[in-house]
């Protein structure tokens, strides 16, 4: 019941996303037919495309057509490759998803413990590190961090492989199961490929994590400080509970809600940063696909990309809402 209501609350966002992506091509200044026709098209070719794509019909009629296409999973064809956009996005999505999720795990795995320790020992060196990391982290352009990491770990130290895609040329991709190279190679028992894929993932994932961990660490620290200063923690301490029990069970359980809320913002950061990082590391994901299309004024892939990213973002936010309900029983009653 709760789940259904949450799902329903995501519907307006999804509707908004679909309307905006539709409007982005059709109703804005400039002739979309010219975009779709490409730079070298003749007047007649543009006219033909305009008719074929239905741009000579009224806006509502076009919108219905767009919705029908969406239901069938049809996002149009790319001009430069001639392939259906939905298919290209689907084959490239696992590369982006693997990178983004690894970055998310890294980001949470570093930021939350850092925030907790900073809050339990205010004024210590950990606290100062936390403050520097949170202020510097959001100021670092993610593409610049990526380049710095490449320079240090590839050029100077030589630990990282060349920043050219998901696997170096000596390894072949593991048999397809999930599209995540780490999981696929692990299932196949191919630990050589696993190690190679992880080596390729490390730098881009770290660049994204550094950028996105700042808000998480900051919120964790602030809400842990509030929780640890509260009466129930004082009572727990006075009752003689162990330090770790007080901090992790009583403190953290209560401090975790704002942290979960911040994940929404972190996802927005990560999905945006994903595009830039993919360009820096020549990562064959949907971000670099969209950039190539953008430069070539190939609009259908860009539109498909924006739609997919926005839908993913809405779904991730929905997941956050559901987790929120699981963690905090009070939300279930007031919702």
């Amino acid at each position: 019941m709760i789940v259904l209501r949450r799902l329903a609350s995501a519907l307006p966002s999804i509707a908004g996303v679909i309307v905006v992506t539709f409007l982005l091509t059709r109703a804005l200044p400039g002739d979309p037919a010219i975009y779709f026709a490409g730079p070298a098209a003749t007047e007649q070719a543009i006219e033909e495309i305009r008719h074929k794509l239905g741009f000579d019909r009224s806006l509502p009629v076009q919108f219905v057509g767009y919705l029908k296409d969406l239901v069938h999973g049809n996002l149009g064809n790319s001009l430069s490759t001639g392939q259906p956009v939905s298919q290209e996005l689907l084959t490239r999505l696992p590369a982006s998803a693997e990178l983004t999720f690894l970055a998310l795990f890294l980001s949470v795995g570093i930021a939350v413990p850092l925030g907790i320790v900073a809050a339990t020992r205010p004024g210590s060196w950990v606290d100062h590190t936390c403050r520097i990391v949170t202020t510097a982290g959001v100021s670092l352009p993610v593409f610049f961090t990526g380049l710095l990491l490449i320079y240090v770990f590839y050029y100077l130290v030589g630990w990282a492989p060349a920043p050219l895609g998901r696997l170096d040329i000596y390894n072949s991709a593991p048999p397809f199961r999930t599209g995540f190279y780490l999981i696929d190679s692990f299932i196949a028992g191919d630990f050589e490929t696993f190690r190679a894929a992880l080596a390729q993932l490390a730098l881009p994932a770290f660049s994204m994590a550094i950028f996105s961990l700042a808000p998480l660490a900051r919120v964790t620290r602030a809400s842990m400080l509030a929780a640890l200063g509260s009466d129930f923690v004082r009572t727990a301490k006075a009752s003689g509970l162990s330090h770790s029990r007080v901090v992790y069970i009583y403190g953290f359980r209560n401090a975790v809600l704002p942290v979960i809320t911040t994940l929404g913002m972190v996802f927005s950061f990560l999905l945006g940063a994903n595009v830039l990082v993919e360009k820096v590391f020549a990562w064959p994901g949907i971000g670099s696909y969209a950039i190539e299309a953008l430069i070539a004024s190939d609009y259908a892939p860009v539109q498909g990309f924006v739609l997919i990213m926005a839908l993913l973002y809405v779904l991730l936010n929905l997941a956050i809402d559901l987790i929120y309900g699981l963690v905090d029983p009070r939300v279930r009653f007031t919702a």
């Binding site: 307006p12 966002s13 999804i14 908004g16 996303v17 309307v19 905006v20 992506t21 982005l24 091509t25 804005l28 200044p29 400039g30 202020t135 510097a136 959001v138 100021s139 670092l140 352009p141 993610v142 593409f143 610049f144 380049l147 710095l148 490449i150 320079y151 590839y154 050029y155 060349a162 920043p163 900051r218 620290r221 602030a222 996802f267 927005s268 999905l271 945006g272 940063a273 595009v275 830039l276 360009k279 820096v280 969209a290 950039i291 953008l294 430069i295 004024s297 609009y299 860009v302 539109q303 990309f305 924006v306 990213m309 926005a310 973002y313 809405v314």
Partner: protein, 281 residues
């Protein structure tokens, strides 16, 4: 006037980090105004005999593939980067604050419509939305500014809405209403000045984000075109040289970009401390 100066000095001496941020900000503004007149080389003049030289006395930050002086390009780019950020934040601030004020003050249908628009913008990952807008409107500098303004708009609209909503029944607003002031006069003359300090904190914080965003867009090849000097595009131009060891082409514009964003973030934090000491972290 001397009173205000004394107060400013007191506040800045309380928090040296904020003072440092304001100093850095003044430096960037001076660079933007005077930079192009002071730099030793033209930012677009190429000298292929001097291509790819590491930093030296003649070229402080070295030279790029075309032999252009990176120091000059970095300094000259300040005006463009700050200009993009300031213009887009001014747009977002103006439109966002006004619509947020109306939504919070009038409530009802106005609130619902504006709220729906803001929610729809927030339903997108913001950088991705900016990419989509630039792709649809056309790849020009003006559209980079509009896109950056649109993705920053919800922050102002939401903040102004909450603050106006809290104050719509406040004593001073009732008094103004009783004196026969029009609604527009109350919103702009009574409520807006009261929420300005909070809004200014956001302006400083979003300026940093706007610079990052604009630089990100030009890094992937949108908006600013070569050979224009701009930090994001300069990092992009140096990206391919990183793996062959010519670090200076991307490093210096990247560092300055970082310093600018850092400066705005620190300044925003400092302003927040002044406006609302309770939120000090």
């Amino acid at each position: 006037m001397t009173e205000a100066l004394r107060h400013a000095r007191y506040v800045l001496s309380e928090n040296p980090v904020t003072a440092f941020a304001f100093g850095l900000f003044t430096f960037f503004v001076l660079c933007a105004i005077l930079g192009p007149a002071l730099v030793p080389y033209s930012p677009t003049a190429s000298d292929t005999a001097q291509a790819l030289r590491p930093p030296s006395a003649a070229h402080l930050f070295g030279t790029d593939q075309l032999g252009r002086d990176i120091f000059s390009r970095v300094v000259v780019a300040t005006r463009l980067d700050l200009g993009i950020a300031v213009t887009s934040v001014a747009l977002a601030f103006g439109i966002g604050t006004l619509s947020g004020l109306c939504a919070g003050y009038f409530g009802g249908l106005t609130d619902r419509i504006i709220g729906r628009i803001v929610d729809t913008i927030m339903a997108f990952p913001l950088f991705v939305l900016a990419m989509g807008i630039v792709a649809a409107l056309g790849n020009t500098l003006a559209n980079i500014i509009y896109a950056t303004a649109i993705i920053n708009l919800p922050i102002y609209a939401r903040l102004a809405r909450t603050e106006a909503n809290v104050r719509r029944e406040a004593g001073f607003v009732e008094a103004a209403r009783l004196c026969g002031n029009s609604e527009a006069r109350i919103v702009l003359g009574q409520i807006l000045p009261n929420i300005m300090p909070l809004m200014m904190v956001q302006v400083s914080l979003t300026l940093g984000y706007a610079i990052l965003n604009a630089a990100g867009l030009s890094f992937i090849g949108l908006g600013v075109r070569p050979p224009t000097a701009e930090w994001g595009i300069m990092v992009a131009e140096g990206a391919s040289n990183i793996i062959s060891g010519e670090w200076w082409i991307a490093l210096f514009p990247g560092l300055v970009l970082m310093a600018a964003v850092f400066c705005f973030n620190l300044m925003g934090d400092g302003l927040r401390d002044m406006v609302d000491p309770r939120k000090r972290t």
